[in-house]
Subunit: 97 residues, 2 copies
Amino acid sequence: MIRHTALFKWTTEATDEQKAAVAAELASLPPIVPSIRGFVLGADVGVATGNFDFAVTADFDDEAGFFAYRDDPAHRDIISRTITPIMAQRVAVQFRF
Amino acid sequence: MIRHTALFKWTTEATDEQKAAVAAELASLPPIVPSIRGFVLGADVGVATGNFDFAVTADFDDEAGFFAYRDDPAHRDIISRTITPIMAQRVAVQFRF
Protein backbone atom coordinates (compact mmCIF):
# COMPACT_ATOMS: atom_id res chain seq x y z
CA MET A 1 0.00 0.00 0.00
CA ILE A 2 0.99 3.60 -0.59
CA ARG A 3 -0.08 6.38 1.80
CA HIS A 4 -0.12 9.88 0.37
CA THR A 5 0.18 12.61 3.02
CA ALA A 6 -0.25 16.27 2.09
CA LEU A 7 -0.14 19.12 4.62
CA PHE A 8 -1.28 22.62 3.73
CA LYS A 9 -0.75 26.07 5.17
CA TRP A 10 -3.41 28.56 4.13
CA THR A 11 -2.88 32.24 3.38
CA THR A 12 -3.74 34.71 6.14
CA GLU A 13 -6.50 36.05 3.86
CA ALA A 14 -8.24 32.65 3.55
CA THR A 15 -11.78 32.71 4.95
CA ASP A 16 -13.43 30.01 7.05
CA GLU A 17 -15.81 29.43 4.15
CA GLN A 18 -12.94 28.86 1.73
CA LYS A 19 -11.22 26.47 4.15
CA ALA A 20 -14.45 24.52 4.67
CA ALA A 21 -14.95 24.28 0.90
CA VAL A 22 -11.61 22.50 0.49
CA ALA A 23 -12.59 19.79 2.98
CA ALA A 24 -16.12 19.42 1.61
CA GLU A 25 -15.02 19.18 -2.01
CA LEU A 26 -12.15 16.77 -1.36
CA ALA A 27 -14.52 14.56 0.67
CA SER A 28 -16.54 14.07 -2.51
CA LEU A 29 -13.65 12.23 -4.22
CA PRO A 30 -13.65 8.70 -2.74
CA PRO A 31 -16.88 7.63 -4.48
CA ILE A 32 -15.62 8.83 -7.86
CA VAL A 33 -11.92 7.84 -7.76
CA PRO A 34 -11.86 4.03 -7.76
CA SER A 35 -8.21 3.67 -6.71
CA ILE A 36 -8.80 5.28 -3.29
CA ARG A 37 -8.64 2.66 -0.48
CA GLY A 38 -8.63 5.07 2.46
CA PHE A 39 -9.23 8.80 2.65
CA VAL A 40 -9.05 10.90 5.81
CA LEU A 41 -8.70 14.65 6.02
CA GLY A 42 -9.25 17.53 8.39
CA ALA A 43 -8.26 20.88 9.78
CA ASP A 44 -5.56 21.13 12.43
CA VAL A 45 -7.12 20.93 15.90
CA GLY A 46 -4.80 23.60 17.28
CA VAL A 47 -3.02 21.74 20.06
CA ALA A 48 0.55 22.30 18.77
CA THR A 49 2.37 25.48 17.83
CA GLY A 50 3.91 25.86 14.38
CA ASN A 51 1.58 23.37 12.71
CA PHE A 52 0.22 23.66 9.20
CA ASP A 53 -3.57 24.17 8.84
CA PHE A 54 -4.98 21.15 7.01
CA ALA A 55 -4.03 17.58 6.12
CA VAL A 56 -5.11 14.87 3.70
CA THR A 57 -4.05 11.22 3.99
CA ALA A 58 -5.07 8.93 1.14
CA ASP A 59 -4.25 5.23 0.76
CA PHE A 60 -3.82 3.29 -2.48
CA ASP A 61 -2.82 -0.22 -3.49
CA ASP A 62 0.19 1.05 -5.39
CA GLU A 63 1.81 4.05 -7.08
CA ALA A 64 -0.51 3.72 -10.10
CA GLY A 65 -3.45 4.17 -7.76
CA PHE A 66 -1.90 7.34 -6.36
CA PHE A 67 -1.24 8.68 -9.86
CA ALA A 68 -4.86 8.00 -10.83
CA TYR A 69 -5.98 10.08 -7.83
CA ARG A 70 -3.41 12.81 -8.42
CA ASP A 71 -4.40 13.19 -12.05
CA ASP A 72 -8.16 12.65 -11.73
CA PRO A 73 -9.95 15.54 -13.49
CA ALA A 74 -12.37 16.06 -10.58
CA HIS A 75 -9.40 16.27 -8.19
CA ARG A 76 -7.51 18.72 -10.41
CA ASP A 77 -10.65 20.85 -10.66
CA ILE A 78 -11.01 20.96 -6.84
CA ILE A 79 -7.33 21.89 -6.49
CA SER A 80 -7.56 24.78 -8.94
CA ARG A 81 -10.89 26.11 -7.66
CA THR A 82 -10.57 25.68 -3.88
CA ILE A 83 -6.97 24.89 -2.82
CA THR A 84 -4.68 26.97 -5.05
CA PRO A 85 -6.45 30.30 -4.27
CA ILE A 86 -5.80 29.99 -0.52
CA MET A 87 -2.60 27.93 -0.39
CA ALA A 88 0.50 29.50 1.17
CA GLN A 89 2.57 26.29 1.52
CA ARG A 90 2.18 22.58 0.81
CA VAL A 91 4.36 19.68 1.92
CA ALA A 92 3.83 16.06 0.86
CA VAL A 93 5.23 12.56 1.28
CA GLN A 94 4.14 9.30 -0.34
CA PHE A 95 5.32 6.22 1.52
CA ARG A 96 4.91 2.44 1.39
CA PHE A 97 3.35 0.59 4.31
CA MET B 1 -10.35 9.91 16.50
CA ILE B 2 -7.32 12.14 16.09
CA ARG B 3 -4.77 11.56 13.33
CA HIS B 4 -1.31 13.00 13.91
CA THR B 5 0.66 13.59 10.69
CA ALA B 6 4.29 14.64 10.81
CA LEU B 7 6.47 15.11 7.73
CA PHE B 8 10.24 15.45 7.96
CA LYS B 9 12.98 16.75 5.70
CA TRP B 10 16.41 15.40 6.56
CA THR B 11 19.68 17.27 6.36
CA THR B 12 21.83 16.69 3.29
CA GLU B 13 24.43 15.13 5.58
CA ALA B 14 22.03 12.47 6.93
CA THR B 15 23.20 8.94 6.15
CA ASP B 16 21.00 6.05 5.00
CA GLU B 17 21.84 4.34 8.29
CA GLN B 18 20.60 7.34 10.30
CA LYS B 19 17.38 7.54 8.26
CA ALA B 20 16.74 3.82 8.68
CA ALA B 21 17.29 4.14 12.44
CA VAL B 22 14.48 6.70 12.72
CA ALA B 23 11.99 4.33 11.10
CA ALA B 24 13.18 1.30 13.06
CA GLU B 25 13.12 3.06 16.42
CA LEU B 26 9.72 4.71 15.89
CA ALA B 27 8.28 1.35 14.81
CA SER B 28 9.08 0.06 18.30
CA LEU B 29 6.60 2.48 19.90
CA PRO B 30 3.13 0.95 19.28
CA PRO B 31 3.63 -1.96 21.72
CA ILE B 32 4.79 0.38 24.49
CA VAL B 33 2.48 3.40 24.03
CA PRO B 34 -1.01 2.17 24.90
CA SER B 35 -2.87 5.15 23.39
CA ILE B 36 -1.71 4.36 19.83
CA ARG B 37 -4.60 3.00 17.70
CA GLY B 38 -2.88 3.15 14.32
CA PHE B 39 0.74 3.80 13.39
CA VAL B 40 2.08 3.95 9.85
CA LEU B 41 5.37 5.48 8.73
CA GLY B 42 7.82 5.41 5.88
CA ALA B 43 10.31 7.12 3.62
CA ASP B 44 9.11 9.06 0.61
CA VAL B 45 8.96 6.78 -2.44
CA GLY B 46 10.32 9.49 -4.74
CA VAL B 47 7.53 9.86 -7.28
CA ALA B 48 6.90 13.59 -6.71
CA THR B 49 9.29 16.53 -6.82
CA GLY B 50 9.60 18.86 -3.84
CA ASN B 51 8.47 16.27 -1.30
CA PHE B 52 9.78 15.92 2.22
CA ASP B 53 11.71 12.71 3.06
CA PHE B 54 9.76 10.82 5.72
CA ALA B 55 6.29 10.71 7.24
CA VAL B 56 4.59 9.37 10.34
CA THR B 57 0.81 9.04 10.75
CA ALA B 58 -0.47 7.99 14.16
CA ASP B 59 -4.10 7.59 15.25
CA PHE B 60 -5.52 8.08 18.74
CA ASP B 61 -8.96 8.04 20.36
CA ASP B 62 -8.62 11.67 21.42
CA GLU B 63 -6.22 14.53 22.11
CA ALA B 64 -5.19 12.99 25.43
CA GLY B 65 -4.05 9.91 23.54
CA PHE B 66 -1.95 12.07 21.24
CA PHE B 67 -0.41 13.93 24.19
CA ALA B 68 0.47 10.61 25.84
CA TYR B 69 2.33 9.60 22.66
CA ARG B 70 3.95 13.00 22.21
CA ASP B 71 5.23 13.04 25.77
CA ASP B 72 6.10 9.36 26.16
CA PRO B 73 9.68 9.09 27.48
CA ALA B 74 10.60 6.39 24.95
CA HIS B 75 9.31 8.63 22.14
CA ARG B 76 11.19 11.69 23.40
CA ASP B 77 14.34 9.58 23.65
CA ILE B 78 13.99 8.42 20.03
CA ILE B 79 13.41 12.01 18.90
CA SER B 80 16.51 13.32 20.63
CA ARG B 81 18.77 10.43 19.63
CA THR B 82 17.68 9.73 16.04
CA ILE B 83 15.46 12.51 14.64
CA THR B 84 16.85 15.80 15.95
CA PRO B 85 20.42 15.13 14.73
CA ILE B 86 19.32 14.76 11.08
CA MET B 87 16.21 16.95 10.92
CA ALA B 88 16.25 19.96 8.58
CA GLN B 89 12.49 20.69 8.64
CA ARG B 90 9.35 19.26 10.24
CA VAL B 91 5.71 20.03 9.47
CA ALA B 92 2.79 18.57 11.41
CA VAL B 93 -1.01 18.58 11.58
CA GLN B 94 -3.32 16.87 14.05
CA PHE B 95 -6.88 16.50 12.78
CA ARG B 96 -10.15 14.89 13.84
CA PHE B 97 -11.72 12.18 11.71
